[in-house]
Symmetry: C2
Subunit: 381 residues, 2 copies
Amino acid sequence: MKKIATLVAVALLNLGTATAQELSNFNFGGRGQQTKSPELNGEKVTFRLNANYATVVNLAGSWMPDQQHYGGGIPMKKGKDGVWELTIDTPTPEIYTYNFVVDGVTVNDPQNFMVQRDGTRYLNMLMVPGERTENYFEANQRGTVSYKWYDSKILGMNRRVTVYTPYGYEKNKGQKYPVLYLLHGMGGDEEAWTSMGRAAQILDNLIEKGLAKPMIVVMPNGNPNEQAAQTLGLPKSKTNYGDPLQADAYVKSLCEEIVPFIEKEFRVIAKPEARAISGLSMGGGHTFTATNLYPKMFDYICPQSAAGGSTLEQVKALKAAGVKLYFLACGTTDFLYDNSKKMDALLTEAGLEHTFFQSDGGHVWANWRLYLNTLAPKLFK
Amino acid sequence: MKKIATLVAVALLNLGTATAQELSNFNFGGRGQQTKSPELNGEKVTFRLNANYATVVNLAGSWMPDQQHYGGGIPMKKGKDGVWELTIDTPTPEIYTYNFVVDGVTVNDPQNFMVQRDGTRYLNMLMVPGERTENYFEANQRGTVSYKWYDSKILGMNRRVTVYTPYGYEKNKGQKYPVLYLLHGMGGDEEAWTSMGRAAQILDNLIEKGLAKPMIVVMPNGNPNEQAAQTLGLPKSKTNYGDPLQADAYVKSLCEEIVPFIEKEFRVIAKPEARAISGLSMGGGHTFTATNLYPKMFDYICPQSAAGGSTLEQVKALKAAGVKLYFLACGTTDFLYDNSKKMDALLTEAGLEHTFFQSDGGHVWANWRLYLNTLAPKLFK
């Protein structure tokens, strides 16, 4: 910052000599913006890294077979200028993550400031445009994302929750909104759905296109020993909440503290028919637990690639309470596919009308973005 | 995520064999959490990097002489286990940034998930506790940080603005709040003050201690050709707004669009005595421009390490309008120190009561955090 600012300010203070054109050529990033990476040219994409003194540089991307990601990868070639380069066929439209491996060390692409956070890892993004991803890019009309804190007596701490309010929320003072409670998986936190999941962009696009009803989306932290994402540096609670999948304490906080907090703080339709719950993996388990413990609370229930489940009795209680949508989603190669198939059979046995949405692929964000994009238009209608 | 989730879920689905204790030992981060870095032990701090195949590994930190940061640095030593290590004397309390340099390539510390973003760079943080930094850590009572969008007719786009509302804002429905407009410097964006500047933590702590009045802090994007931080991937406007320091179009949008937007959306005391403006470097220039163009708008004016300035006539207009606080701050080794001295002399010449707060050091975030921590308690009193 210092050196750059010096250069710029010296230029600015000598207005006679520095033009806007010259300023626009300043390298604000600090280094190497000449080296473009990744460079997406239709069917080909090129990655580059300036690493004149490295011996081996590989590219590792999430589109490669799993064992090559976060290590391994495929070799890049060094040019005369010390820039390593690799051009590959553009993978099919999706949001991928990738990194370089420089002499065995995982390195982010310094030219690419599009970054997602997955738990404690910061990962470069490669966004390939196409029909599948069109709702993952920024819409024209965008909602507000807020990081709020609620006091949890159940968990004994002040906890962070991410809240999305749709475009127009600020202006339409007379309007009340339905709410989707959207839960992350293990290793995630209250930023997982907005970072890896592109939840704000997906809702913005669906709402702008008139495909989804304007709704509020609430994304809590599902780790009962955490106040907030680890990246905030807050100490963790030493209370042992036991098996995270059975974390009743968190689910109780969700239903008895977060839901009332949201319904007080926002203009919300505080009724079961305006409440939806969905979660991935562990968050799917939390979805089951919440609907098992509070069968009358949510009329829209959407477990994704979910662990855990419900008993026949619990499903019957849900049916008696009246469910407007039960949308179960899982990838056919997901290690939890059998778990979802069992749940599908149980729902059928209980006579609860439902959708079992099956997609290619496994336990990955590509699927969870797809599920959110698919289920959101079905809510509150 | 996939492999970790597999491990965890397999454990969870076999509840008879996996205990909470076993789960708590899972490596959710995915790799190498055995290698602790940085490890702060009072007067010493140790950095470690697992890099068995690297030839040379250096540590580069912002506490080192400037030319060693973002490259260069001081050599680390490789242990038998392939982990490079370096122990240094802990620098004086402050928030520092650092990185490793592996065979000439800048690498973030994979063990350290405390990360700041400076423009397009993601930088690891080293937070050294002490009196100087006590307000930079999380407080017990925290406000809300929101990312909102306002429509700018002046700049012809929908633009992102970061808004901090203090703890209690949601509960105290009858209360109206004063507002600090807090502006970033060149290379920054609407997240600079919350990321590098720790603005939310500083205000949380000051308010919790009763040292500052509860206030709203508004942090806009000061680059007139941007809708939002570059990390959102939105296209930039091709309009040439000329010299960014003289960017009247942005300052007009701030005073004629952002201020009314905030005063409509939030419970705000919409009067000059409840409006403060402060900014660093280019944002200090914007502070001058805003008070030059709208002398009656802000009663509290705090340029930090500022570029640009005002004329004697403009300062006299400010004096006539009635200023409650004029707080000018600059580091004595800042390349803009002379500019601040000139402004100090001009304020004296105009007979405008003011403070010229001078600190050690230069054009760095260490100073801007200090200035915010120093000026916020003086506002709205």
